[in-house]
């Protein structure tokens, strides 16, 4: 183990705080990759369907997710597996995730494709940005490269869990019957 801290002081004071003046996205897997990650070797075909309003209402009620379902990515494999890609709003950020459902109707895998740490409104707020003026950062923050090893905030994955639930309603009430 090797640890270099800027001062070796046990107590770091809040002087090196820097704002994130941009919205940045964390990309994990592409749509093509996630198919292979969850269902290795299966070939998927995109299904274009319009999910009826009645089903969407059921999805909303059972999962509690109010963010509208976009129905952009519904994929089915020749073996009868489904791959559904959806987005939910986390605490402040957009999260794109995939759920793989096997031909027995069981969840086969859940993966995050993209995590947008966009704190939109707060970032654009001038007053908020101004408080950081004149503060020196001891380290250049190249956010897209550097900010990946973050400790200190356990972001809850509850919204994704609810999102998975709404896709399972879609499967149960609609996809499994078509």
């Amino acid at each position: 183990m090797q640890w270099h801290s800027p001062s070796y002081l046990a107590v770091i004071c809040l002087v090196t705080t820097a704002p994130l003046g941009q919205v940045f996205a964390k990309q994990y897997l592409s749509v093509d990759e996630v198919k292979q990650v969850i269902f290795s070797g299966e070939v998927f075909t995109k299904i274009d369907i319009e999910v009826p309003e009645l089903i969407k209402e059921k999805m909303r009620k059972e999962s509690g997710v109010r963010y509208a379902y976009q129905q952009k990515h519904i994929w089915k494999s020749s073996q009868g597996s489904w791959l559904l890609i959806d987005e939910v709003v986390g605490k402040h950020e957009m999260i794109t995730y995939a759920v793989g459902i096997n031909n027995k109707g069981q969840i086969h895998g859940v993966e995050i494709l993209e995590y947008n740490e966009s704190y939109g409104e707060q970032i654009r707020e001038k007053k908020w940005l101004e408080q950081f003026k004149g503060r020196a950062a001891t380290e250049p923050l190249r956010f897209n490269q550097e900010i990946k090893n973050i400790t200190g905030a356990t972001l809850s994955s509850k919204h994704v869990t609810n999102g998975v639930q709404r896709l399972m309603v879609l499967y149960r009430e609609y996809l499994s019957r078509t």
Binding site: L20, V37, W128, I150, G152
Partner: protein
């Protein structure tokens, strides 16, 4: 390769360094390694979650209330976590105790609280057996996430991955020869980060009373002093840098409770305590 899965109540990020000229077969193989890492970590969750009624922990909490002195065989991993927990309990003089579940706001009966005891009352026997001497309310929430990260790292080492990182909602471990910058998220509601330092081949964990308050239950923080049963209510961040994530995870609780960066147990475990105001 970078992956992220919702797990352990948070997001678990996995990074495996890949060569710029990596071939598609190797890429696919790395994704498979990622699947194995996540499988092993999910197994830790299934064994040790106290929310899951079918987990080993839920079972032994229930059993301890039926027959005193009952002997129970654990999964080797759970047994290992108990060994580590008892060692940290002993070294910290009981400051770290994962038997504080009875103080949790969601615990059913307030009148039963004082009857339940902590990790120190369990006898560890041979062959992964333990004896439950008293009523228990074990909650491995303060240690299992760190242990899960270490299990994931073990998988990566077995596959001879050189440079990699697993970050389970802030409990993270890095292997290999690359120095990684570590940032502390300063606020859940603002995108501000504090640069903490550079870490090579080690782990960091943070416990903070800034976030994670159980607002539905009256805004209590989730950090509890096992000696008094009281919540830690301050506005600080407690981080530990340590060789393994399980040790880092446990010791953040001891640091939050005692706030003593000179406590001898940090050196015993080769850990560096950091308090951020």
């Amino acid at each position: 390769m970078r992956r992220n899965r919702p797990m352990l109540g948070t997001f678990v990020e996995l990074w495996i360094e890949e060569d710029l000229h990596i071939n598609p077969e190797q890429m696919a193989f790395n994704q498979e390694i990622g699947n194995v890492v996540y499988q092993q970590m999910e197994k830790v969750q299934a064994l040790m979650s106290s929310h899951d009624k079918s987990s080993e922990i839920a079972q032994l909490n229930r059993l301890s209330k039926t027959v005193p002195g009952i002997v129970f065989t654990l999964h080797p991993w759970t047994y290992e976590v108990f060994m580590i927990a008892q060692r940290v309990f002993a070294e910290t003089g009981g400051v770290f105790d994962c038997g504080v579940g009875q103080y949790s706001p969601s615990y059913p009966s307030k009148s039963d609280q004082l009857q339940d005891s902590g990790i120190g009352s369990i006898d560890l026997l041979e062959n992964y057996q333990i004896r439950l001497n008293q009523r228990l309310q074990i909650d491995l929430g303060g240690i299992a996430k760190g242990y899960a990260v270490d299990r994931g790292i073990e998988v990566l080492k077995n596959f001879e991955i050189k440079n990699a990182l697993i970050n389970a909602g802030g409990d993270l471990r890095i292997i290999g020869g690359i120095e990684q910058s570590i940032y502390l998220k300063e606020s859940l509601y603002r995108d501000a980060y504090i640069y903490m330092g550079k870490l090579k081949d080690g782990a960091v964990a943070t416990s903070s009373t800034r976030f994670g308050r159980d607002n539905k239950k009256g805004g209590m923080s989730y950090l509890i002093n096992p000696k008094t049963g009281e919540c830690i209510e301050d506005d600080l961040s407690y981080s530990i840098v340590a060789p393994t994530c399980v040790v880092a995870d446990c010791l953040t609780k001891a640091l939050a409770i005692e706030k003593n960066i000179h406590a001898p147990y940090f050196e015993t475990f080769g850990a560096i305590p950091i308090i951020v105001e």
